[in-house]
């Protein structure tokens, strides 16, 4: 049994502490918005100049001037603020954003991240990914464990152009939660029904299994959305 994209987002959300300032990338990361623990105050940052992004706008209430960086219509929470791109990237590059959840093409055993350009891609684009990878202390990758073709994305060395070297702290996938440590990758959690061996089989880089390695605690469903598959 593995996690759905929403399941990965749910699992990430559990780890965001109260008072954190979190940037969410396009794809699985932005899904985290829906699973923030209601008992914690967490501020979502969008690099186009919003801090305190709330739930998506309800149909019929979209305001054309309130979009997040994933180009979704959003609301703001009480205490939100608006600013320009210069201050927004001061927050990122200056180390003020405490957490960044970002997608990845490849992650290496030493925390190298490749997420902006597939080798041989036709039109490159980088957006704010490099600023986040260089600027944010707690950089969490949220992605599927393997490619559409079933190939590992967690490698000994990245083959795609790097976004930043040695920047990833944790990897959340549909199969596992892996921590990047100075001694290499540490398997902290495994999806229900999977074994450490099964995760390793889908991972090129060697995994050490944590002494307290446990099952990923994700319910099967949350508010009608499937979290496991």
């Amino acid at each position: 049994m593995t996690l759905t994209r929403d399941g990965i987002a749910y699992r990430v959300a559990l780890d965001l502490p109260e008072g954190s300032y979190v940037n969410l990338g396009i794809g699985i990361p932005i899904l985290v918005t829906a699973y923030l623990p209601p008992d914690k105050e967490i501020f979502i940052h969008s690099e186009n100049g919003l801090l305190g992004v709330g739930p998506m706008s309800l149909p019929g209430t979209e305001d054309p001037d309130f979009l997040n960086a994933s180009k979704q219509f959003v609301t703001l929470v009480p205490g939100a603020s608006l600013f320009d791109h210069a201050l927004s990237f001061t927050m990122i590059r200056g180390g003020h954003i405490t957490h960044s959840v970002i997608g990845a093409i490849e992650v290496a055993a030493n925390g190298d991240l490749a997420n902006w350009r597939v080798s041989g891609e036709k039109v490159p684009g980088v957006g704010g990914a490099m600023d986040l990878a260089f600027g944010v202390r707690n950089l969490y990758v949220a992605m599927n464990h393997v490619t559409n073709k079933g190939e590992p994305k967690i490698l000994n060395h990245c083959t795609c152009p790097l976004t930043a070297p040695r920047c990833v702290r944790r990897i959340y996938t549909d199969m596992a939660l892996i921590e990047v440590t100075p001694e290499g990758l540490l398997l902290r959690e495994v999806a229900r029904g999977l074994t450490a061996e099964a995760v390793q089989a889908c991972t090129e880089a060697p995994l050490r299994v944590a002494d307290d390695c446990r099952e990923m605690t994700v319910p099967d469903e949350f508010k009608g959305v499937r979290l496991t598959a």
């Binding site: 305001d63 791109h85 039109v123 704010g128 490099m130």
Partner: protein, 237 residues
Amino acid sequence: MIDKTVASCKEAVADVFDGATLMFGGFGDPGVPGRLIEALREQGASRLCVIHNGAGGDDFALGGLILDGRVRKLIASFPNSPRAWAFRDRYLKGEIELELIPQGTLVERIRAAGAGLGGFFTPTAFGTELAVGKETRIIDGREYVLEAPLHADFAFIKAHRGDRLGNLSYRGAMRNFNPVMATAGKVVIAEVDQLVPVGALSPEEIHTPGIFVDLLVEVERDPRLFELEPPKRRSAK
């Protein structure tokens, strides 16, 4: 009396010349000076270099300008949006040059130009493909890349409200690159949703002081950029 307003976008963009470098504000649709860019399509200047976060969308504004073959070079951070098919087509044919810059470096380079700085050291992109050929330096144990200011002959920006002195205020996520580009263009042209009398904007709520703005024009929003009538029913039946 100072009056920076002009009657039409056509008049506002009249002086753009062939080969000019332009900045366009906006991120996604919010804050894009769509009417000004459409007027530039009509105006006809070509071989343009455009500085913008993305590569425009569909056949509107920057997308249309690229479709028309008027842009020689694009300086951007995220030109690969699915809607930027006009750019993709020309880029793959080798008909447009691309300078790709991390988003934070892009805005900081624009700011450096506006602030009269000669360049800055940023950690972003050190050791990556986007820093190839750039000067690097280790400062206090951390690795940095030297980046140069980005100037433009013209900056097109969009604001929500403005007065005849050029004072501007933005709404929601419209601000993005606009206030920074307003400092960095030799000629700065703003389109606003609403022209208001001097004094209607309080000194504390002015985001772009008029000193940075040369011309402004009141426009109705182009429906392709969503009209401003919240709550807006975009997901129509």
